[in-house]
Symmetry: C2
Subunit: 138 residues, 2 copies
DNA sequence: TCATTAAATGCACTTCCATTGCATTTCATT
DNA sequence: AATGAAATGCAATGGAAGTGCATTTAATGA
């Protein structure tokens, strides 16, 4: 078990107070968050810093961006050993039409999608919309 | 075989010169188009008119919107007998990372996606990214 | 045909989010 | 402590979606 500091350093991300706070915020959230969500959680910090921080996390491979179709980009930490870039590792995302929350279904890998002759599949984005467990009354 | 005028009227869309032109433009294109694409094709027309026209087409069920992850909304005419609203009818979309074009793979229906207990699936958006047949040299 | 009326169009403006340039501050290293 | 590079903060930009309202167009009936 490594500390967050060690994790960041192992990914070549310089450790700063802000980055630790943002990492912890993302880790504590069970849902994908927007930049505004982060902004609201850290009112003292500048929006640009938060923006560039999640971008850095993304580039260094400890977070991934989610396009759930709402038009607003969301972010979530990668799971242990996640490699978002590799197609076979891609999990699906669920967007709840009621509470408007989006979560990673990391257990649910995307099935192999057949494409026509001549087409090469490199990447797949799959978003399921509906009602989440909390909103459906399980 | 019905004329475009008859099709529009059957869908409760008033026939105008502009709408006929835009419909023909969409029909001729084999790929999904952005509002800017339409704008460039009809420089004399106002952007708002084009915007509201495709919105009308969408609401009346003769076109559908595509979110291919580029951040720019695209539109395409529905196939004969298409009913985009019904989940089981949803087809997948392919976005080429090289030519940047997005096409409807209307033959390729989206497979049934399993979601965890308590979750209800109402809608699915599936976008495959990669290299299209034209760009791969088939 | 002409008047009436509703819908379609055009123009201006707004909003929202993503993104960048640059000055300043912080931090690691010597 | 001095240096340089990276991180941060502030201001501004850009792109696309969406809206309010005045004007034009087109369908309808007198
Ligand atoms: Mn995820
Ligand atoms: Mn389509
Ligand atoms: Zn919910
Ligand atoms: Zn291509």
């Amino acid at each position: 078990m490594q500390t967050i500091e060690q994790l960041l350093e192992s990914k070549d991300i310089r450790v700063t107070a802000m980055r630790l706070l943002i990492y912890k915020f993302l880790a504590q959230k069970q849902i994908a968050v927007t930049l505004s969500d982060i902004e609201n959680a850290f009112e003292k910090a500048d929006r640009t810093t938060l923006y560039r921080t999640v971008k850095t996390f993304e580039e260094k491979g400890i977070a991934h961006q989610i396009d759930d179709g709402t038009g607003i980009t969301k972010y979530a930490l990668c799971e242990e050993g996640c490699s978002c870039e590799i197609e076979t590792d891609l999990h699906l995302h669920f967007h709840c039409n009621i509470c408007n929350e989006t979560i990673c279904l990391t257990e649910h890998k995307i099935p192999q999608i057949k494409v026509p002759e001549g087409f090469v599949s490199e990447n797949v984005n799959l978003v399921v919309k509906g009602i989440c467990d909390k909103c459906s009354g399980h």
